[in-house]
């Protein structure tokens, strides 16, 4: 029973708790035991607070027993949800996997954290990432890399590698991550779980440590598309504390997906030819092609589309994202919080030394690149040009959506690579995000779901890209494939 629990979905566990077969405390104990058993090898967590989690679980059991309506209206009652260590939880550490924030304790909750708590969830642990969410492998963590549960010698992807690995390894039922250039979808693909990046503005970023504010978006990792829909419904919505959050009604995603599924709607799916060229691993390409064939058998209309500016997305991204990060990370000055150098002679020296000691190599590289592209004399040539290319990339997608409902692609060009393989070559690492980055530049929603395994047993992810604020349709397209496949039922051997 216990081991079985660890790979159940939110909806299955909720039923068990509704019927009284399982309590939130029992579930939490099972998750804690599993985490203690495997996390020495997986290292998905930067830290976790066992007592705090159990006390939340006890409160949840009490709520359930006292509330005449049971857990209705609280869709995550008693469910342990892990949070990437860039999302604030009051009274808990918040490190961004950086020496800069080692020992920092958050004085408040992020909006998504408040929403999880209001939905009855147990906030569980601080999940590892590439420092300040900058990376695609979770090797850039100041506290050591996370391993891929399917092969401990390989990376889980990144930057939300801890969030993906924890779900795959049974150390949390679902988790939240953040996605700036693929940081939810790519690790979801590499770890064989579902990962959803919502439309920019759908979810409040209040209480998320900022990396690139015009691209960052929080989203869920889960074991099923249905669970991702449930979590999206909980965390979405307008927030006056995030002026970029959009004031649009939040649908009941679970119901909307079910209704779209029953409606028998024939989806028109676009296959962008630019996503199937050079650099795509043949096994990944074959698995994605098989998924497209499955959609065709389901009655979907498959159309080739073109996103002609795709090859410029990585370049534009590394100008825009680094420019924004150089500005956002200026706040780490050693004055009010974060690392302060002990050797500083004066105020200016305090900045130079605190930042030199507190930031890791990749963060420094990106701050310097971003400072350069914004600096006097270079702004027009780099930053302004990149913003114009961003317009063209966005236009490509909107043009394609005149013909199709959603776009289907591989999530990442290769399966999980070996630790250290790309560590010395930042450019090679950046190119790993080639299929995910355009979605952030265009502000679109995207999901990765399992669509197969390599011969050596590594998961492969299928990306479905949706139209702005049409997450229900996006989830319905993903669900249609999930229903016909069984990839999510495989477990890593740990």
């Amino acid at each position: 029973m216990k081991n079985e629990l660890l790979h159940r979905t939110v909806s299955e566990l909720s039923k068990l708790m509704d019927s009284g077969e399982l309590s939130a405390v029992e579930l939490m104990r099972a998750v804690i035991a599993r985490t203690k058993e495997v996390d020495g090898r997986v290292r998905a967590f930067n830290s976790f607070d066992e007592e705090d989690a159990l006390s939340q679980a006890r409160a949840s059991d009490q709520f359930r027993s006292k509330s005449p309506r049971g857990a209705r209206g609280r869709p995550l009652e008693g469910i342990p949800i892990g949070l990437k260590d860039v999302i604030a939880v009051a009274g808990q550490p918040l490190t961004a996997s950086s020496r800069m924030l080692e020992g920092f304790v958050s004085p408040y909750d992020a909006t998504v954290t408040q929403k999880l708590k209001a939905a009855g969830a147990v906030c569980w642990g601080r999940l590892n990432l590439d420092e300040f969410a900058m990376g695609s492998s979770t090797e850039n963590s100041a506290f050591g890399p996370t391993s891929n549960p399917w092969d401990l010698e390989r990376v889980p992807g990144g930057s939300s590698g801890g969030s993906a690995a924890a779900v795959a390894a049974g150390e949390a039922v679902a988790t939240l991550g953040s996605d700036t250039g693929g940081s939810i979808r790519q690790p979801a693909a590499l770890c064989g779980v579902v990962g959803l990046k919502p439309t920019y503005g759908r979810v409040s970023r209040y209480g998320l440590i900022a990396f690139a504010s015009s691209l960052d978006q929080i989203g869920p990792f889960a074991r099923s598309v249905g669970d991702a829909a449930t979590l999206l419904g909980v965390i979405s919505g307008h927030d006056r504390r995030d002026s970029t959050s959009v004031d649009l009604e939040v649908p009941d995603y679970g119901r909307a997906v079910a209704e779209l599924g029953k409606s028998g709607r024939k989806w028109r799916l676009g296959i962008p030819r630019e996503y199937f060229g050079e650099g795509l691993d043949p096994e990944v390409g074959a698995a994605v092609q098989a998924a497209i064939d499955e959609y065709r058998r389901l009655g979907a209309e498959i159309r080739e589309v073109s996103l002609p500016h795709t090859k410029y997305a990585v370049g534009a991204y590394y100008i825009i994202a680094t420019a924004e990060c150089s500005s956002n990370l200026a706040r780490y000055d050693g004055v009010r919080y974060g690392h302060r150098s002990k050797d500083a002679r004066d105020a200016l020296d305090l900045y130079f030394k605190s930042r030199a000691e507190g930031f890791g190599a990749e963060v420094k590289r990106r701050i310097i690149l971003g400072t350069y592209v914004l600096s006097s004399g270079y702004y027009d040539a780099y930053y302004l040009r990149a913003q114009k290319v961003r317009t063209l990339i966005r236009r490509d997608f909107l043009e394609a959506y005149k013909q199709v409902d959603a776009i289907v692609t591989p999530t990442a060009p290769t399966p999980a690579f070996r630790r250290g393989e790309k560590a010395a070559n930042p450019l090679a690492m950046y190119l790993n995000d080639i299929y995910t980055i355009g979605v952030n530049l265009a502000g679109l929603p995207g999901i990765s779901l399992p669509c197969g395994f390599t011969r050596s047993g590594l998961p492969i992810g299928l990306q479905v890209i949706g139209q702005p604020f049409k997450e229900a349709e996006l989830l319905a397209v993903a669900r249609a494939y999930e229903e016909r496949s069984d990839w999510g039922s495989r477990r890593p051997q740990l």
Binding site: V105, S214, A316, S326, G338, L369, Q387, K388, V389, R394
Partner: protein
């Protein structure tokens, strides 16, 4: 677009307020140079007449009522301070 060689790492690191060790400087110069060479392909794109995009879905004129609300307590605000003194952040001497 400027050539990657025009990157003056000392100048930019100074703007970014990060001191770099000599070994770090050499490595970053090479790595950032690679990235800039790659980025140079953006020059191929005809952007004449194209408006820049800062946000995919810009939300404009977001107003809030000008009403004081409870914020962090002094104790919470100073909770992560590297050094504090009499309800203030303490820093090295700024004025001689």
């Amino acid at each position: 677009m400027p050539k990657p060689e025009t990157l003056d790492l000392d100048h930019v690191a100074n703007l970014a307020r990060i001191s770099l060790a000599p070994e770090e400087k050499a490595r970053f110069a090479a790595q950032i140079g690679d990235v800039l060479s790659y980025i140079a392909q953006l020059n191929e794109v005809d952007v004449s007449g194209v408006e820049p995009t800062a946000h995919a879905f810009p939300v404009v004129n977001v107003w809030a009522a000008d009403v004081a609300e409870p914020g962090l307590s002094v104790e919470d605000a100073l909770g992560n301070a590297p050094a504090k003194s009499r309800n203030m952040f303490a820093v090295p001497r700024v004025v001689e």
